[in-house]
């Protein structure tokens, strides 16, 4: 079975400050890991993914994420937040060799204050 936990319902950060959105996962084997963003009344947009190799993954809009196998985490980060980053963020996992569909976390709402 595969599962994802996003422990924070909401993260508040001031514009220009670094941001972190947390994600931990559980899989039987090795994971593919993804981050998506959802703006109001829109579908999900892909941000970045970890497949293999370098633990630091860079994605769209200046976001990056760090894969940590020992802590089973895949936290999303950005060095300097923008007001336009305010949105709902989802972490997702797929167990390699397991079910073909992604399993999503409950989502974290990021609020960036001017």
């Amino acid at each position: 079975a595969q599962s994802v936990a996003q422990p924070e319902d909401q993260v508040n950060v001031a514009e220009g400050n670094p941001l972190t959105v947390k994600c931990t996962y559980s899989v039987s084997g090795n994971p593919y890991l993804f981050w998506y963003v959802q703006y109001p009344n829109r579908g999900l947009q892909f941000l970045l993914k970890y497949i293999t190799g370098d633990n630091l993954v860079k994605g769209s809009y200046g976001f990056e994420a760090e894969f940590n196998k020992s802590q089973t985490s895949f936290h999303l980060k950005k060095p300097s937040a923008l007001v336009s980053d305010s949105a709902l963020y989802f972490c997702a996992v797929r167990d390699i060799g397991g079910r073909r569909a992604l399993t999503f976390g409950s989502g974290t709402r990021l609020q960036v204050q001017p």
Binding site: F46, K49, A101, L102
Partner: protein, 112 residues
């Protein structure tokens, strides 16, 4: 650009009605998925399909069925709509393996 198109953005149906949600993708993807999104619960997988006429149950299939007669089209069917099926429904597709899934804009279904 990959496009996943859902037939309706907003839908209002009555309890007991049979409801069809349609999804079409234009990138020849093998896999297609239906999720429902509810506040605090994230996205939950209802059904997915990895080939024409092939389907697998997700985590919450009760009260739903699906149909995939053509590769590009994946339909979600609510056999007898109930108020607890009021939700946002999201369709997605991907090529499989490590590839990311692409999502439609969602259908907000209200059952009254």
């Amino acid at each position: 650009d990959v496009k996943v198109t859902q037939s309706s953005r907003y839908l209002v149906k009555r309890t007991g009605e049979k409801v069809f949600l349609e999804c079409v993708q234009d990138m020849d993807h093998e896999n297609m998925f239906w999720y429902r999104q509810d506040p605090g619960l994230g996205l939950r997988l209802i059904y997915f399909s990895y080939d024409v006429k092939m389907k697998e149950k997700g985590d919450i299939p009760e009260g739903y069925s699906v149909s995939r007669e053509k590769k590009e089209r994946f339909s979600l069917i609510l056999e007898s709509a109930s108020t607890n099926q009021t939700s946002m429904y999201l369709c997605a597709s991907n090529k499989g393996g490590e590839t990311e899934a692409f999502f439609g804009q969602g259908t907000r279904l209200t059952v009254v």
